[in-house]
């Protein structure tokens, strides 16, 4: 595929106020492939500016993008090849030097942000004297900190000077680290990024008129003076936020904080120089490389699932859910909201069904208040939901999923009962987190319609669904499962029918090691802190409480049965904890993590070794490395990319670790343990 290069096209317009240069950024493709800035693009901009500087009598310039797209920032494809500080520094300098020429033009300049503007695409607009924004711009953001970078082409410096530190922190720090949140055109205008907000219908015409009015003095732009007084306090708060998100494991957001703080007092050139230095340090960093890798995984790899049979999936016009507990209710709502087809939920007690219906009602109301569903649709949507005690209601279902207790006997039983009423080709899916799908279908008349369809908690947040093919599953079932995943806006990943599948196997391996380390003398807090320092979204013992120790133990048992006690020992203390009915090792609602004294009492230590943080990490990560190697050798998934994508989308592991294998490779653990790397092209 030929690489798209963004060109800067210059046109001139003899307006009533004199000659105006129209500068268009366009890579020649449609909106699905946004404009990006490579070295060639910057050269094109320089050439355009050479022309513009030579033309006499220019009274103004309008910079804009192609339809629906302003620009999506720097071309990230070059980043993997930048390995030194000097190279990274030059990337920064080249951007600054080129963009600054726009700033130095001796006439009014307007950036007309007509569409998506991200990163460098937003930065270039800041070099114009004025900005107009279209009301229908869907996404404006500085995603840099999310990608191991800082807005280093003037973003930190110019944004701070334009809208002050508070709003700049919102854009560059808070939004980027909140799953790369983006704002729309109206919000960007309200932040002060634009001087005018125009409707999309005549956006460029009105932007041009705005420029003409500025040139002939008919309009003046007033801006709110940014407030720098509270800068130190704001930076302090942001620092605490960054710590809570990345626990010191990423560099970029900290560097961005320094730049924003500095920009409150530095002149522009000092700011730009510091940005260059920051890019010098960051582009070569492992966090940046891993982030770019992760970005590609999530945006491209995840969207092209492997192993999907090439046939027309079955149409789903009714969904049945076995069980009406909390997980089942979450699934019911998801299917209802996304597929907009009848969803019937079956349980054995009326009160559980009533609770499920209450949950659906409450979620529908939430969606209405957020504007995701029209208010007039409430009754219709609710009418699609039915709670039942009677299997008969499953007769005309096309897709049935069970979310009952994690017990093979129970699951086999409900499948058997369902099979008596459902049609021959109705799909039977299981949301089991560890049990064998093949065995689950083994006593059915039609095991070929059985498939694993494993969600992650919280269902609304984590986008992964592990799709598990049993030995009997046929192609139509598999194709339909992928199609359903896509329709409910989840990412399906094909996983072999192997104990605990992928994500839970990795998390459980981590968990047993953590338990063992505590057995040997470390405190729960020491273990949690050590692992958090990697930048994980949640500490292991907090995750345990979230999942529920009993469920986690079930998964551990499954793994123990299959792979033996050496890798998956059944921790005695853990078992005792569950027998005591404890749901967490910590006391609830304590500001500082405090171990439940009863847990402390029951936990029998095998030793009193004083672990250093590094030792804890070494044990956990080396064992994880070996486990992942086995996972790949067993072909549980097709590649290390799948492992990383799954950890990012199914466990929320950070971009800057590149999931897990990229981290293990880059910090040298894989080479040390396995004498190789996981990564391959």
């Amino acid at each position: 595929m030929e690489k798209l290069e963004t060109q800067f096209y210059t046109q001139f317009y003899n307006s009533p106020a004199g000659k105006i240069a129209l500068l268009t950024m366009d890579n020649g493709a449609d909106y699905k492939k946004p404009n990006t800035f490579s070295e060639k693009a910057l050269k094109s901009l320089n050439a355009a500016l050479d022309t513009i500087e030579q033309v006499k009598d220019i009274k103004g310039l309008l910079l804009t993008g192609k339809p629906y797209i302003f620009a999506a920032g720097a071309d990230l494809t070059a980043i993997p090849f930048i390995t030194t500080y000097e190279q990274g520094y030059l990337v920064g300098k080249m951007g600054h030097d080129t963009f600054k020429r726009i700033m130095n033009l001796p006439f009014p300049t307007v950036a007309a942000i007509n569409g998506l503007a991200l990163g460098g695409g937003l930065e270039i607009a800041l070099y114009c004297k004025y900005r107009t924004i279209s009301k229908s711009v869907p996404a404006i953001a500085f995603p840099e900190c999310f990608l191991g970078l800082v807005p280093g082409w003037g973003g930190c410096t110019l944004t701070t000077k334009l809208i002050g530190p508070e709003k700049t922190l919102q854009l560059i720090i808070y939004n980027a680290l909140n799953q790369n949140r983006m704002i729309n055109g109206t919000q960007a205008f309200e932040l002060g990024l634009g001087d005018r907000l125009f409707e999309n219908a005549e956006f460029l015409d009105e932007s041009l008129q705005f420029l003409i009015d500025i040139i002939n003095g008919k309009t003046k732009v007033k801006r709110k003076e940014p407030d720098f007084k509270k800068a130190n306090q704001l930076i302090k708060e942001a620092l605490a936020f960054v710590d809570s998100k990345v626990h010191g494991a990423a560099i970029a957001p900290y560097r961005a904080l320094e730049l924003i703080k500095g920009a409150c007092s530095w002149d522009i050139d000092t700011g730009f120089e510091e940005e260059n230095k920051a890019l010098g340090e960051l582009i070569k960093s492992r966090q940046c490389k891993a982030s770019i890798y992760a970005f590609d995984l999530v945006n491209r790899h995840a969207k092209r699932p492997q192993g999907v049979p090439d046939l027309k999936p079955k149409e789903i016009n009714k969904v049945g859910i076995i069980g009406a507990g909390l997980m089942a209710s979450q699934l019911a709502y998801l299917f209802l909201y996304r597929l907009k087809v009848p969803v019937v939920v079956k349980d054995i007690k009326q009160e559980i069904i009533d609770r499920a219906k209450g949950y659906i009602e409450q979620e529908l109301k939430k969606a209405i208040s957020k504007g995701k569903i029209e208010e007039t649709k409430f009754n219709y949507m609710l009418s699609l939901f039915k709670g039942t005690l009677d299997w008969k209601d499953f007769e005309d279902c096309d897709f049935v999923i069970e979310a009952v207790f994690e017990d093979m006997k129970v699951k086999k039983q409900v499948f058997k009962e369902a099979e008596e009423v459902i049609s021959e080709d109705c799909i039977l899916a299981s949301n089991t987190s560890s049990l064998s799908i093949t065995e689950m279908g083994s006593e059915l008349k039609h095991p070929e319609r059985v498939i694993g369809f494993h969600f992650f908690n919280p269902v609304a947040v984590l986008p992964l669904v592990e799709i598990i093919r049993s030995k009997e599953t046929n192609d139509l079932t598999l194709a339909t499962a992928f199609s359903v995943a896509k329709k409910i806006k989840k990412t399906g990943l094909l996983v072999k029918d192997s104990p605990a599948f992928l994500v839970n196997r990795i998390l459980t391996k981590m968990m047993v090691d953590c338990l063992e380390i505590v057995d040997n003398g470390a405190t729960f807090q020491e273990v949690d802190e050590a692992l958090l320092s990697l930048g994980l979204p949640i500490a292991p013992f907090d995750l345990l409480a979230l999942v529920g120790p009993a469920v986690a133990y079930h998964v551990l048992e499954t793994l123990n049965r299959s792979f033996g006690p050496e890798r998956f020992p059944l921790n005695e203390n853990f078992k005792k904890m569950i027998e005591l009915g404890k749901t967490s090792v910590y006391l609830p609602n304590k500001k500082k993590k405090t171990v439940d004294p009863e847990i402390e009492k029951l936990w029998l230590r095998k030793g009193d070794y004083k672990y250093r943080k590094e030792e804890i990490l070494d044990i956990v990560l080396e064992n994880l490395t070996k486990e992942i190697d086995l996972i790949l050798k067993e072909k549980v998934v097709a590649s290390s990319r799948d492992v990383d994508m799954a950890m990012i989308l199914g466990a929320g592991w950070p971009f800057f670790m590149g999931g897990i294998t990229m981290y293990l490779d880059l910090v040298g653990i894989t080479p040390r343990v396995l004498q190789k790397v996981f990564f391959s092209f």
Binding site: Q11, Y13, L22
Partner: protein, 397 residues
Amino acid sequence: MEKREVVLVDAIRTAFGKAGEKGFFWHTRADDMVVRVIRELLRRNPQVKPEMVEENVWGATTQEGDQGLTLGRTSAILAGLPESCAGFSVDRMCAGGMTAVTCAASEIALGACDIAIAGGVEHMGHHPMGATADPNPRFLAERLVSEDALVMGKTAENLHDMFPEITKEMADEFALLSQKKAAKAYEEGKIGRMIVPMTVYTKEGWVVADRDQQPRPDTTLEALRDLRTPFRIQGNVTAGNSSGLNDGACGCLLMSAEMAEKLGVTPKMKLVGFAYAGVKPEVMGLGPIPATHKVFEKTGLSINDMDFIELNEAFAVQALIFMKEFKLKMPDDPRLNPWGGAIAFGHPLASSGPRLMCHLMHEFAESPEAKYGLTTMCVGLGQGGSIIWENLQRKNK
């Protein structure tokens, strides 16, 4: 319902582009051009709030693609008019926009609504003439129309056959005059103020479409003489003495006279009367003659009462025959198309009718002594349409 007076408050158009890839509207949608016109009409007339517009009527010959889906309704939504504004589309080929105006005017006259926007659009680049038409085979099998009827250039050649005294030289001379008058009007700034500039996307960057692409101010009789006659060997009709294929949109703001007074807007002209009439399809250029006779008959006015005649120059020969019929001064009557016509500006089918009104409105403004004007045009498959307007910008009303 009692008949009420209908006035035209304003008219504006986009520039007219060349149809096809070289035209500046090639990457611009027809409905977006309409949106630009609607919004500019409201921008220029701030007393008219968007929620006051009750009807939005648009003519287009090809009612599909970016001109389909009931353009009158879609363009109202796209322009940001409130949902209360109704809208519909009409088609009378070249007189689509003219018909949109008379439809809207009829509603106003009958009291069905007070304020309407009406206009015409044609993106002939996106919708080449007749490209998706499927004429009934009976037309030819039963000789209902001659084979020439669907090819406009051939109908113009037929007019030369019918009126041998109208020679190719006369047609070329008429075309040259149209170009020169248009060039002069351009130079004097008369045309620019009828055009709302529009920023349009091209593969070489956004450009501003603020001038028609069709006019050839430097044309000469010699150059015209040597042009090919594509419709027949040794013919008379050339690209130079016909109107060309174009993209453009033009719209008008209409309201009842009472509403204009109530809002305090200054109406530019009043609709006195209109008429449409049919002729043989193979000589469709004759259309304006019976239509104009008819409107004179209905209004009791005559050609001598007309201070301006805006005649759509589909072909020079058709204009000349009209001049002959009504005994206008040959080859150039100062009352007829004083600022040039479609041969110079181009003829994006349905948008041409409103363009004639736009010209007339501005001519009236410059000639406060003028009282009446005529807008008239021929229509494919043999029709003509004529509207008589009264100047409301007169010094002593």
